[in-house]
Subunit: 349 residues, 2 copies
């Protein structure tokens, strides 16, 4: 396995992917526009270049055996160049589906899954019509490049249509109705090229200000819903002929599971696996993109993962017996994910 | 904690120390004479230079906050240079004690611990006299630079004295009598500058051809002997005012525990901690040398660590449900440690 994996993006996910690759004796090469990326500290090589730099992309792609990524908003032109030299996993259909909220919802509905009520919004008129149908509260979201609450506007009264539409500057959008949910969970699952699938146990998420605060495993779920979540993830992975790890965010409602969104990559809500499973999400992803058999993703312990956001990182005294994971970011900024902690306890169910 | 740790030695121990440092957001700088060291793949910086290269040592020491090492045979002159710029942990007394088998045995006896019968050997006459006293079988070992069975000669008959003495080429040596033991165990413990000590559970070791084959945790030990092992390790650490992780190899005899040897560093027989403890030996070592509180070294699972030596790395099919740790070494050679696997099962006792 003396191979090299190229990783697009040098943030904390790229960093933890690099460490997982190293555990398997595999080198990594990070491609990242910003200098001194967190992943660079644990990678064999770093290219600092923009995604529009064709020469840099070519040299990068030629230096590695396979390319993967830590974020889904990779420009199509960059992918075109890389794919002419080496494979990119997860594949194009997964990226294209998850890059566009409208395509994602249509795909999920198409394979029989439940999603929040939504409407395509290309004009103020579309928005006004959709608000009549879906009602308030609702959220206007740009179709592309949104994450952690960015590119979103929460509409609580129908007369906010103009303000909301202006806020997204005319970008193609979707209006999403609110889903009444009991809890938010996510499921992290891996699939390799042989169609082998391995799912981690579902985790229960708490978001604060649109950002993940904590994930607790096991989630408070009936056995039936746990099974539903696993089967649902497998359906998504198989439908996309997916290779790699995916994060699937779900709402638990009175009518079962509704998909919030899918992310074609390792996921913040899967960080608990680092300390509560023999093989974590990062290693499963590396195994999948290398074409290796997946590892044993069984949970040996219960776990709570808590994100360290901004100054949280200087207030660890309130926690006990935790594994600390810091991302090596140069500066603390409000809202910036600086690290996380994992706490474990003996396995309950 | 935006610090940099310098690590002398770029092998697998340096590599796993680097990854542990990265988990804590700490950068590493590897100093290693051989090119392309395994640790270099996961370090921020690598210096390729000899331990006699004063300029390189100075530049290295000036670029880091603290220096540690993955092997104990560091030339004193190199240490002198580094210590004029930054602290080195574990400290000098630990290094000097463990670099010399004679000094080590005297130290251990001096703090009331049991060691194998031994004698200082500086001449053939010494050896002949010692063989009369200690008897055969016995092992002649060079006082310095021996590891994994190198620099050793097993004497099974007294008339082998000349052959044995010639084999070590007149190097200062010790003759060690054999210890009748029921099993070999080791205990890995950490101590920081505040005198805080954290010990992992003792592991039971199997050696093949002088090299560690496997470590099983828990060891088959009475509760009393487990406690003895922990207290013994603490006594060694305190006596040396030690900072860092130490590996202590012990024989379990009918009369209790006899110390085989101590290693002032992370230890192969502690690799099981990576998958069976919340905080592993590598992270404890990094925490200790940084002056941070030690983490929770409790074992959450039972574990078996098996070394992958030479071609073993291509014969993994006989194992199930393991975590693989490969060292990224370029070539497979007979006897070379290529990696290890950890298997876990629910905690028994």
């Amino acid at each position: 396995m003396a191979k090299t994996i190229g990783i697009l993006g040098g943030g904390q996910l790229g960093r933890m992917l690099s460490m997982a690759a190293a555990r398997l004796g595999v080198k990594t090469h990070i491609f990242e526009p910003l200098p001194n990326p967190p992943a660079g500290d644990v990678a064999s090589k770093v290219t600092t270049a923009d995604y529009s730099d064709e020469d840099a992309l070519k040299a990068f792609a030629m230096s590695v055996d396979v390319v993967t990524y830590e974020f889904e908003n990779i420009p199509t032109e960059a992918l075109d160049i890389i794919e002419s030299f080496c494979p990119v996993y997860p594949g194009r259909n997964a990226l294209e589906t998850s890059q566009d909220r409208l395509a994602e919802k249509r795909f999920l509905e198409g394979i029989g899954l439940s999603v929040a009520p939504y409407a395509q919004i290309d004009s103020l008129k579309d928005l006004e019509g959709a608000l009549e149908e879906i009602g308030v509260p609702a959220i206007l979201k740009t179709r592309r490049f949104g994450y952690d609450g960015k590119g979103q506007f929460k509409i609580v009264a129908k007369n906010q249509a103009v303000e909301a539409f202006d806020s997204i500057k005319g970008a193609p959008a979707v209006l999403e109705g609110f889903v009444r949910f009991e809890r938010e969970i996510s499921i992290i699952a891996a699939r390799n090229k042989n169609g082998e699938i391995s799912s981690f146990d579902p985790g229960e998420n708490i978001h604060l200000d649109g950002t993940l605060h904590s994930t607790t495993v096991p989630a408070s779920l009936s056995h039936a819903l746990q099974t539903d979540a696993v089967l649902l993830a497998a359906r998504v992975l198989n439908a996309l002929d997916y290779i790699g790890v995916m994060g699937v965010e779900l709402f638990v409602t009175q009518n079962g599971l509704t998909v919030n969104e899918i992310a074609p990559r390792v996921h913040n809500s899967g960080h608990w696996t680092q300390n509560a499973c023999l093989i974590d999400q990062f290693e499963q992803h590396i195994r999948a993109v290398l074409g290796e058999p997946l590892g044993d993703g069984q949970r040996h312990s219960d776990s709570v993962m808590t994100n360290l956001i901004g100054e949280d990182v200087n207030h660890l005294e309130k926690f006990n017996n935790y594994a600390l994971h810091l991302y090596g970011k140069a500066d603390i900024k409000a809202g910036r994910k600086m690290g996380h902690i994992n706490q474990i306890s003996p396995k309950s169910t």
